[in-house]
Symmetry: C2
Subunit: 180 residues, 2 copies
Amino acid sequence: MPVNKRAEPEAEKKAQLMAAARQLFVQDGYESTPMGRIAKAAGVTPNTIYWYFEDKDALLLAVLDELFQENMATFLTVARKPLAEQLLWLVQTLRGFSRLISTVHARVRESKPVDQWHSQFHSIVEQLFAMQLPQEMTQAAIAAEVRIAAFTVEGLVTHVLDDDAVRLTCQQLASRWARA
Amino acid sequence: MPVNKRAEPEAEKKAQLMAAARQLFVQDGYESTPMGRIAKAAGVTPNTIYWYFEDKDALLLAVLDELFQENMATFLTVARKPLAEQLLWLVQTLRGFSRLISTVHARVRESKPVDQWHSQFHSIVEQLFAMQLPQEMTQAAIAAEVRIAAFTVEGLVTHVLDDDAVRLTCQQLASRWARA
DNA sequence: GGTGATCTTGACTGGCATTTAAGAGGCGCG
DNA sequence: CGCGCCTCTTAAATGCCAGTCAAGATCACC
């Protein structure tokens, strides 16, 4: 039996709420945006959000998934460029969501779903990098280098740094693999 | 005019509150420990804490300062060992306070005092590392390497990893400077 | 033993996520 | 057509928490 033949299907309403949440999460940070503000931005009352999302955490995860999918698509554009450039692209892209990145790291401890999302995100991104490192390296060395790269990216994203510092750090990081 | 000739001088009471807060912050995390619980652990009412500390933030900073001083003293023990060992020591030490590290990074955005503390901490630690890198490197390269090291340490501290992974990553990181 | 500074407390405020239960509106079936 | 049911929305309430306020209690010194 088909349900939901309303003017505005569930998926659409959900997307609206996510758009409002996303904008505020990115701009003001997850912790600093009350559900009430998201609701107002979407033109509903706070409780309505709870009909579409289990809780604030679920809303966060939905936004994270959306952002991930969008940027994964964009990544294909730079996937064949040199590693240093990919690194720089990644950092600059993530910098646009630095508050969200901080939030994820903060919430990993208290929210199992966020923890899982975070683990999966790391797995995918690290896999993507690992496969581009020189074949001569041992598995252990590759794993270590990947961690160094991942953590450096995170640091560059979450700390206040000027663009030069970011660029130089990416270059320095990549220079390691060029001559190996 | 001498004040505070009470049985329990201000400094002592402050230390008690800090001890209670520290234990709970490290164990449960700053965000998950209400002032009330700290108060109960110290045998007072929540409001008493506010006589000794401006707010929860100030209490956090006091604990951070204490931790920093204590561990800075211990650092002198390993200061002359090879860089890779210093790195490993640092990571293992900080891992004991990983929740606090996450909290600092999360709060940097909303609390100027925490931001300042964090900046100063980075300055000192990075300075300590920079001076041990090979003299032949350019200033820019040193700065970049230091950032890579600092961010890698942070990543190793705040992410869930087994000891082997931590050790291998430190070695790999340090191997860069050995042959330079 | 009174006076003022130092400390402690209970009661309160305001913000927030989330729950509960009561509505409003459309859909299909008799 | 109308009646009940599922879908959606809401107002009102709950409970937790950081922080404020104003009234005590305790002490140090005169």
